[in-house]
């Protein structure tokens, strides 16, 4: 659905730290397949918004090519934009319009069939849970409602791709839960969603694929599992024993492929180089050696811990 080929975007800044030049996107290569819910994380200034804007055709790359649904965004922006629903990282609506007028305007601007517009506006209002606000002026809506209306605008022409920049920013917890549910529904309905967010737990929960971006570069890209484990086959496990007495720590330390053994009150933590088969072999040998094993659990690093470990969090 989205393909970035060596996409670079340079700006001029007067920051001494960067020496005056800023590369917001540095030779990015990225492939996002149909139906993915792709999350991009990174600190402020990492280049996420620039990347999104280049995908939406709002900024032209300094070099490289962006394809959306096989259409070159730079060469055929209007053709590409029919496939894209875009939401920026700020609330910006026409306050003097009524809710239905706002959606009607964008339905017409996306050149929908006039006969379909009325029913589509009603459908989107229902989907966004804004039916009761249909004839209200936008300036009277709450922040959460405005954000839902913004998403309604992005989906009004039923695009296969949604590009959402920090949609949860500034929302209260209730509105965030509603937003998450809405995104899951849209994803389930077959939309490909490209989203950036600072709320990593939200992304971890809903995204099928992730990228970590910093200083204009993609540090890691893949499924959540791939991102968590990328670059190493070593996983951490915790083993628990039903009763004390077995010399678990020396047994593990003597085992090939095992490292970083750390004793715990009823067991130990260790790192194992290898996949599930190697683990199964180890557990089988451990039980055969007489250890009263009552549990083996993989210790998965949270996205937030992984992010803070691999990202300097430095803003350019």
């Amino acid at each position: 659905m989205i393909k970035l080929e060596q996409v670079t975007k340079q700006y001029d800044v007067l920051s001494q730290k960067s020496g005056g030049a800023l590369v917001a996107a540095d030779r990015l290569d990225l492939n996002i397949d149909d139906g993915e819910l792709f999350g991009m994380i990174g600190p402020n200034g990492a280049g996420k918004t620039t990347t999104l804007k280049m995908i939406a055709g709002l900024q032209e790359p300094t070099s490289g090519r962006v394809l959306v649904n096989h259409v070159d965004v730079q060469r055929f922006p209007e053709e590409a934009q029919r496939h894209i629903g875009y939401l920026a990282d700020f609330f910006s609506l026409y306050d003097d319009l009524k809710v239905w007028e706002y959606l009607d305007y964008f339905a017409r601007a996306y050149k929908m069939e006039p006969s379909r517009i009325r029913s589509r506006v009603s459908e989107v209002l229902q989907q966004m849970n804004l039916e009761s606000k249909r004839d209200d002026f936008i300036h009277g809506l709450s922040r959460g409602m405005k954000q839902r209306l913004g998403i309604g605008r992005a989906v009004i022409h039923d695009p296969p791709l949604l590009v959402l920049d920090e949609p949860a920013a500034g929302l209260d917890p209730k509105a965030r839960v509603e937003l998450k549910t809405l995104l899951k529904q849209l994803h389930a309905a077959g939309k490909t969603i490209f989203i950036t967010s600072h709320i990593l737990s939200d992304l971890e929960e809903i995204c099928t694929n992730l990228a970590i971006m910093e200083k204009g570069r993609l540090l890691r890209v893949g499924t959540l599992e791939e991102v968590m484990r990328e670059g190493t086959s070593v996983r951490r496990y915790r083993v628990r024993l039903a009763a004390p007495g077995f010399g678990l720590e020396p047994w593990l330390a003597a085992r090939p492929g095992v490292s970083a053994v750390a004793p715990e009150p009823a067991g130990a933590q260790f790192a194992l180089d290898g996949g599930d088969a190697v683990l199964a072999e180890l557990v089988k040998d451990l039980v055969a050696a007489g250890a009263p094993v009552c549990g083996v659990q993989e210790e998965v690093e949270s996205l937030e811990r992984l992010y803070s470990r691999i990202s300097g969090g430095e803003v350019m």
């Binding site: 007067l14 070099s63 894209i84 910006s92 026409y94 305007y105 964008f106 605008r153």
Partner: protein, 516 residues
């Protein structure tokens, strides 16, 4: 009408501005104004004739309608894109499937829709006044055609300005727009007893011309001279509105949906065409055939009597005067063609080393140079044909020297500004312009105090810095100091070359990281 209602951007503006309460308020206010004006003019304290009353009223109504459209509608138009950029709503319009043309048309007629409503509501009283004044309705129709077509052109200009503005400077943009309205509302062909001839033969260019058609019962529109031929002002206005509107619209639709970092109003050839078009207009409406003159002032008389007469200009001064206008036209052409850092980066990525070749180093001077040389030669030929200068009044050498200086002067300053514009900084071009102003102020003051320009032996040196010294050059001095003047021209060319060299060095800096 359906074309408008089918345009979503027009419809959005109309929905916001023409809510029923506001429409009723506008209609009531316009009715009150119409009734008040009617009774004021028809029950005049000083008895005028019925026709005079009505023509005064008609003129007032037309001027009011023009003011509402040009100033009120123009300010709405000046804000339309810029305000959307400030509110961050413009990006959402850019990602829709509306073409630049559709978006531009929607904004062009949508932003000032309230001003159009006010104008429409004042039409009945204007019509009644025209009937009472026994004016031909065809003339009234012409007036409204001028108002409508002229307003569209001025709104296109305002939309173009609005699109081109950086964030946070909308208030500043109102001033040049109002200045433009004021400049085009002057009657440049207005003659009087003390000034029987004017340099230009073009009457009021703005839609205020509509009101002047009915001034004191005039029932025939004014006439302009185009290369000496009489053309009705109405036809001239329609031609200028149609062509200028086309040029403005072209710049808007080329850029409206593009990334603002890579806006380029016109392609080089389009910009060159626009400059040539403007030059043709300027030359066409210049008063070639008449013994051109300028008013004579005498400060020893009270203010109202200072204008004492009319002095005929020699051909050399005519050449200087016309070339000064050509200077600004082609300087503007260069400004339109300037490349910013982002555009140079993209050229470097696409073209590699070719982005820093000789043609790029001289950018955008060749277009301006070529334009000035061609236009200058045409001016010389026009002077020869229309003015038939006497040998003592005219020298071909002097004419070519004028053209050479003006061409190289523009080239030097454009190359300097382009080089400055490629430097890293917050507003490099603005700083370049500021330094240029400082240079002219300092150099002008020093040369003025020392009276260098007026001393024939030193004038060529002054001209190498500020070529206006050429304007004081007398024909006998030229014959004596021809080599000095040629040397000054050479120095000016070297200055231009220096800035081209600096620009090339700057372009190579862009090239360096790309090669890594």
């Amino acid at each position: 009408m359906s074309a408008f209602t089918a345009n979503p951007e027009f419809l959005r503006n109309a929905r916001i501005q023409l809510r029923s309460g506001r429409v009723i308020a506008v209609a009531v206010i316009c009715l009150a104004v119409s009734i008040t004006a009617w009774f004021t003019f028809t029950s005049h304290a000083v008895p005028l004739t019925r026709i005079e009353d009505a023509s005064e009223l008609l003129r007032l109504i037309l001027q009011l309608q023009v003011t509402v459209l040009l100033i009120g509608g123009g300010i709405y138009e000046l804000l339309t894109v810029h305000r959307e950029k400030e509110l961050n709503t413009f990006d959402y319009q850019r990602v829709t499937r509306l073409s630049s043309f559709e978006l531009a048309i929607g904004k062009l007629f949508g932003a000032p829709v309230l001003a159009y409503l006010v104008t429409f509501c004042l039409v009945p009283v204007g019509l009644a006044a025209a009937i009472r004044a026994e004016f031909p309705l065809g003339l009234l129709l012409q007036a409204y055609v001028i108002i409508l077509a002229g307003s569209i052109v001025f709104h296109l200009l305002a939309l173009l300005i609005s699109m081109s503005l950086a964030r946070g400077v909308s208030a500043v943009a109102v001033l040049p727009y109002l200045a433009f309205v004021a400049c085009t509302s002057i009657d440049y062909a207005h003659t009087s007893r003390v000034m029987p001839e004017t340099a230009w033969t073009l009457h009021i260019l703005s839609p205020y011309a509509a009101g002047e058609m009915f001034w004191r019962g005039v029932t025939q529109g004014p006439v302009d001279l185009f290369f000496g031929a009489s053309v009705p002002h109405f036809a001239v206005l329609l031609m200028i509105y149609a062509t200028c509107g086309g040029w403005f619209l072209l710049a808007i639709i080329r850029n409206l949906k593009r990334d603002p970092a890579v806006y380029q109003l016109y392609s080089p050839l389009q910009a060159f065409g626009f400059a040539i078009y403007f030059t043709v207009l300027m030359l066409g409406f210049f008063n070639w055939k008449a013994p051109l003159g300028q008013p004579i002032f005498d400060n020893s008389y009270p203010a109202q009597l200072r204008l004492l007469g009319f002095k005929t200009l020699p051909p050399q001064e005519v050449l200087g005067m016309v070339l000064a206008n050509i200077f600004w036209i082609f300087a503007f052409l260069g400004l339109v063609l300037f490349r910013n850092r982002e555009q140079v980066r993209r050229r470097v990525k696409n073209l590699g080393a070719r982005a820093a070749n000789l043609w790029a180093a001289f950018w955008p001077a060749p277009y301006s140079l070529a334009g000035i040389v061609v236009a200058g030669l045409v001016v010389v030929q026009l002077i020869r044909v229309y003015r038939e200068p006497a040998p003592g009044q005219w020298s071909w050498g002097l004419a070519f020297l004028y053209i050479g200086f003006v061409a190289l002067w523009v080239a030097r300053d454009l190359l300097y500004l382009q080089w400055m514009g490629l430097r890293r900084g917050r507003h490099p071009l603005a700083f370049g312009a500021l330094f240029l102003i400082v240079f002219y102020t300092c150099a002008g003051t020093i040369l003025g105090v020392l009276q260098v320009s007026r001393r024939p032996e030193l004038a060529p040196f002054a001209a190498a810095l500020i070529p206006t010294s050429l304007y004081w050059l007398q024909l006998p001095d030229l014959a004596v100091r021809y080599r000095s003047w040629i040397a000054a021209l050479g120095i000016l060319a070297l200055e231009a070359l220096l800035f081209a060299f600096l620009q090339r060095a700057k372009l190579r800096e862009f090239l360096a990281p790309a090669a890594k």
